[in-house]
Symmetry: C2
Subunit: 508 residues, 2 copies
């Protein structure tokens, strides 16, 4: 069907010397292709590329996925080693002091709290993950740290559990005039591991084959732990690397949450169900009701664990409303929904009037379209990297709700602005080829998670269908405006012309 | 299986002259059997009894179902004709005056409200239903009024819609410490018909084959419109007649609710869903969230309509906590749950220490056990009939949640007190016979509702299984304490001894 894209498997014509970062990215060294025959899988193994073998290995071995970030100056890294090590040391000693006092107090109050020792290890995975964050992405393609972090989140002893800051903020009165505000369905918790790694736990609320009812608005949809997991894998496959690592885990909510939490309020929302399962419900002020509880079987509950980013005190981020934000009311319409020339206005406004910000928004909209996430009201960036920083794709649990629905409005940034990064387009075209088919590489990648299967087949196949729709939108833009207007060269100086690249789409 | 009960079909040995009301019921005339060959069905037809024909007709033709209430004195009727007619007239003229003013105000405020004419008809069905309520039951077996009322509720033009008084009372602050209080899932509305009949509308929240999840507490279970309908039919089949008539109806929530309501708050909770269906959600202060909304398709929504009882101003009722109330907390236990001699205490306490009150509670517990309703925290009686009044079995929408579960604790009043009215027992035994099998007569009766099927087969078959369990509990009581202690003769002076009656059970 897609007979010819930019490259095809190993007969790729793009050699290392054909790849450079454009001048607009600053005076960076020439990127290099790493050894593309040994891209690591999430389980830490490597594999020889062979036709008919692992499509995922072949994908990650492809030159497009092996453009190395040049050596980074201090200003291009999010954190400095000394700073973070010092922060970590202080955390460990604070924990030890605190636990001494807390154990005494708990004993007096007759509360049994399991007291786990913490370990101090300057080689620990979360620390390395935090240190690896740079101005290009959250992690490097070939960094084994992510694999170790995933392993740690999957298996390491949980030493404490608490509400997240978001939920702690929910202390005000129950303002029910705000009917469309985020509901109390979020049962997310912050878990701390023995090495002081922190992960956000989102428990399973829905079976894999359950779909979002058609009458439910995107902004009140359930959060799906499997969507969170799948979004991380997709982001990695798209080579964005803007989603912090996420892993599935069977959590024992009695021994790993109830028995280790020091938060009275959290203990208070635990109960035993009529079926003798351990359950807990949201702290939330709107929906403090047991019918919305999450229950173990009797204690074990599936969930996603997402690695925390460095704390805001050492790595501040700002949260910016998306220019394509939805109205979050029943009937309201935002300007972008009614004005086909909306992007012309946006293009003239700071910070979208220069640099990559608008292209980054378009990347995000493609990602959201693929997962079917209509709930991207804000995006976050690290303050340190300024306006050129990459956008974090956090909170993807409302994706993968309806496999049969392709919500074209999510693609509005692309379809209205008619712009796309060349690097993004080339990878999308690669993933539309049967040898690297997106659903196949996703299926393979998700197979590595212990909670497999993560997505049902219809959701996997929807990815291919949606990918073709993205490429079709790009094609229409090129036909209307010409490739020079539409396709923005970023790092890629290729022998293959963008026209040939979009040709693949045109044949559909 | 049940070879011999009290009577068997048409070879019944109980002639009219064998039936009397006991002296304790007051100096009443001897009850008579009505013409038992022509009991009316709910659709108004009558049918000749014939072996192999309608089991329901045969049941209602049985002498046990044809003991007529003697002529009633004024004090034995809930309402006097003149009083009610006067009340109705005032309601009609109030409505007309009010609508004149409201139409003006609505026009000024640019609100379109459909203005239906009301009719004044002293022969109207709801008026007759209210006039028929007496100290024995809500309606008489052979009263065609109920059939007409059901027809009217099913088809009559709705002229206004509003929240119920219960929901209007929910105006206080959102007290989320009360985690186990009735949740906001109740979407019930009061609908007024053209003849000023009032009915409570409970919309469909669950498909027929959906079951209550095992981790959900009874007190937060969804309310099921079909349970409300089925409970009315069961109550009629048990010959209790303590449930006001209920009928299923496809309600157009746009034209029959939104367009006729004069309540701003109610209008405000309507919205159009992403699938373009009309939806509304609870006014409730806890759960004012669209994900719990009820949606039409696009406007039509199934629901139950329950006839209103006369207003509290003309027919006051009192609501009394059940002595077997549950704790309504996660871990609390009530005394009846831990003390096997609980009933001995209750038997000595007013009003359970004399008269029929305790036997009425036991009737209610049998009814609740059959439908699987664990949520009977209070019962209501008409003040006028004093302590001897019958108990109203209102609000049965939490029945029929789990077909496979027989919640024996609901039967505690029976199993702990070991008492039952002879009249109740005889009917239960009749319904355990294959010729009158409870599931068969229920299936037949429910077939008359326009929303058929009302119950799935597993729920119908559960009725037979539960009925046998009730009879087994009675049997165990008789074996332990003797029939004279257990079976209380009420209206029945039969040639068949209670022992023979329970024999039927003993054979199982």
């Amino acid at each position: 069907m897609r007979s010819k894209g930019l490259t095809s498997g190993h007969s790729c014509s793009c050699g290392p010397n054909k790849l450079t970062l454009p001048p607009s990215q600053g005076g960076l060294a020439t990127p290099q292709l790493s050894n593309w025959t040994s891209a690591p899988l999430l389980d830490g193994t490597t594999s020889e590329p062979a036709y008919g073998g692992s499509k995922l290995v072949r994908l990650f071995s492809h030159p497009l996925y092996n453009i190395q970030t040049p050596a980074l100056g201090p200003e291009e890294r999010l954190l400095q080693v000394e700073q973070l090590i010092d922060y970590y040391r202080r955390k460990v000693s604070h924990w030890e002091r605190h636990m001494k006092l807390y154990s005494l107090a708990a004993a007096l109050a007759n509360i049994t709290v399991t007291n786990h020792e913490v370990t101090y290890d300057p080689d620990t995975s979360w620390l390395k993950f935090h240190l690896g964050i740079n101005r290009y992405a959250l992690y490097s393609r070939d960094d084994p740290t992510v694999l170790q972090l995933i392993k740690d989140m999957q298996s390491m002893t949980v030493i404490s559990a608490d509400y997240t800051q978001d939920e702690k903020a929910l202390k005000g009165a129950c303002d029910c005039t705000q009917v469309v505000k985020p509901s109390g369905h979020h049962l997310k918790l912050a878990l701390k591991m023995r090495n002081l790694a922190k992960a956000m736990f989102k428990p399973m609320r829905q079976q894999r084959d359950e779909e979002t009812p058609e009458d439910v608005f995107y902004f009140v949809d359930l959060q799906r732990h499997n969507a969170e997991i799948a979004a991380f894998h997709l982001d990695r496959i798209l080579d964005f690397r803007r989603v912090p690592p996420v892993v599935g885990r069977l959590v024992n909510i009695t021994s790993e949450v109830l028995k280790v939490t020091q938060n009275e309020d959290l203990r208070a929302v635990f109960f035993t169900s009529p079926a003798n399962n351990t359950c807990f419900f949201a702290k939330c002020l709107y929906v403090c009701k047991t019918e919305y509880a999450a229950c173990g079987s009797p204690d074990l509950l599936e969930g996603s664990l997402s690695a925390y980013l460095p704390g805001l005190s050492i790595a501040p981020r700002i949260s910016i409303p998306s220019p394509w934000i939805r109205s979050y009311t029943f009937t309201g319409r935002e300007e972008w929904e009614v004005n086909p020339f909306y992007c012309d206005t946006i293009k003239q406004q700071y910070p979208y009037n220069s640099g990559n910000r608008l292209l980054n928004i378009i990347d995000m909209s493609i990602f959201d379209f693929l997962i079917g996430n209509m709930d991207r009201h804000h995006y976050e960036i690290f303050t340190k990297f300024g306006d050129e920083g990459f956008l974090l794709h956090l909170d993807n649990a409302r994706g993968f709700g309806k496999h049969a629905k392709d919500e074209m409005s999510i693609l509005s940034p692309l379809s209205q602005c008619c712009m796309i990064k060349q690097s993004t387009l080339l990878r999308l075209q690669l993933l539309a080829q049967s040898e690297f088919r997106l659903s196949d590489v996703m299926r393979e990648s998700l197979q590595e998670d212990s909670l497999r299967p993560i997505l049902t087949e219809p959701h996997l196949l929807a990815l291919d269908r949606r990918l073709h729709k993205v490429l079709r939108v790009v094609h229409q833009c090129v036909r209307r405006l010409g490739k020079d207007e539409v396709i923005t060269e970023d790092f890629f100086k290729s022998t293959v012309t963008p026209e040939a690249a979009t040709d693949g789409t045109m044949q559909r």
